[in-house]
């Protein structure tokens, strides 16, 4: 049995991040085990314009908030990873 394929996650962009990227969502291939900061860096490699909001965003991975940092993520194909700029509902 060979190594499993790296997963294709669905990255969702909202608010300012959607404007910077020009997309609402896309499939991205990422390592299965990756820290949240490394995941951010992978996405910024594809969309360098996102770098300007690095200090304001968090992720939502499978609809749970995750700070950009050392937290280890174990990802599977189809997982949703959302870029969450500062929320302003209500």
């Amino acid at each position: 049995m060979g190594h499993p394929q790296p997963p294709w996650v669905t990255v969702l962009y909202f608010a300012r991040s959607a404007e910077l990227v020009g997309l609402r969502s896309e499939s991205v291939s990422v390592p299965q085990r990756i820290t949240s900061l490394q995941l951010w860096e992978e996405i910024v490699k594809i969309h360098p314009r996102l770098a300007v909001i690095r200090d304001q965003v968090v992720f939502a991975v499978r609809q749970e908030y995750v700070l950009l940092g050392d937290q280890l993520l174990v990802l599977q194909t189809g997982d949703e990873v959302a870029i969450i700029p500062p929320i302003s509902g209500g």
């Binding site: 608010a15 959302a82 509902g89 209500g90």
Partner: protein, 141 residues
């Protein structure tokens, strides 16, 4: 009303149509409750000294509904006598003075529903993935 049907309910809605205070408050009315507390968030015409012509809201809808459900669970844990909870949030364009969010909570006595409504709006603003885009008119003096 059949009392067996009057189990505590959460009414959660994200929609682009105009919100209705009558509709939201009627959802939570219950024969065992003497209090219905309401919060209505409306769009203001100013933002950082500039004139606002409208707000546009977007949401990570599936996660927003989940986070609102968590708020309802939290409310029921903190205020067990709360009966029904309704949280409606508008998405898309919201013209000035119209409601962007309406929250209604019913309870037998007033203290719990008043406190629960405050908790609902404060927690919504902190945790629910909804964003507002402020559309401005800039005026030259």
């Amino acid at each position: 009303m059949n009392e067996r049907e009057d189990v505590p309910k959460d009414f959660i809605k994200l929609k682009s149509e105009k919100l209705s205070v009558d509709e939201v408050s009627e959802l939570v009315i219950s024969p065992c409750c003497g209090a219905v507390s309401l919060f209505i968030g409306t769009t203001r015409n100013n933002f950082e000294g500039k004139k606002v012509i409208r707000l546009e809201y977007e949401a990570y809808t599936s996660m927003a509904e989940m986070e609102i459900k968590k708020i309802c669970r939290d409310v029921r844990q903190k205020w067990p006598s709360v009966k029904h909870i309704a949280m409606h949030h508008r998405l898309g364009v919201v013209p000035i003075t119209e409601a962007s969010v309406i929250i209604a909570v019913s309870s037998p006595h007033r203290a719990e529903s008043l406190e629960a409504v405050t908790h609902c709006i404060n927690t919504l603003k902190a945790f629910v993935p909804i964003w507002k885009k402020v559309c401005l008119v800039q005026i030259w003096f």
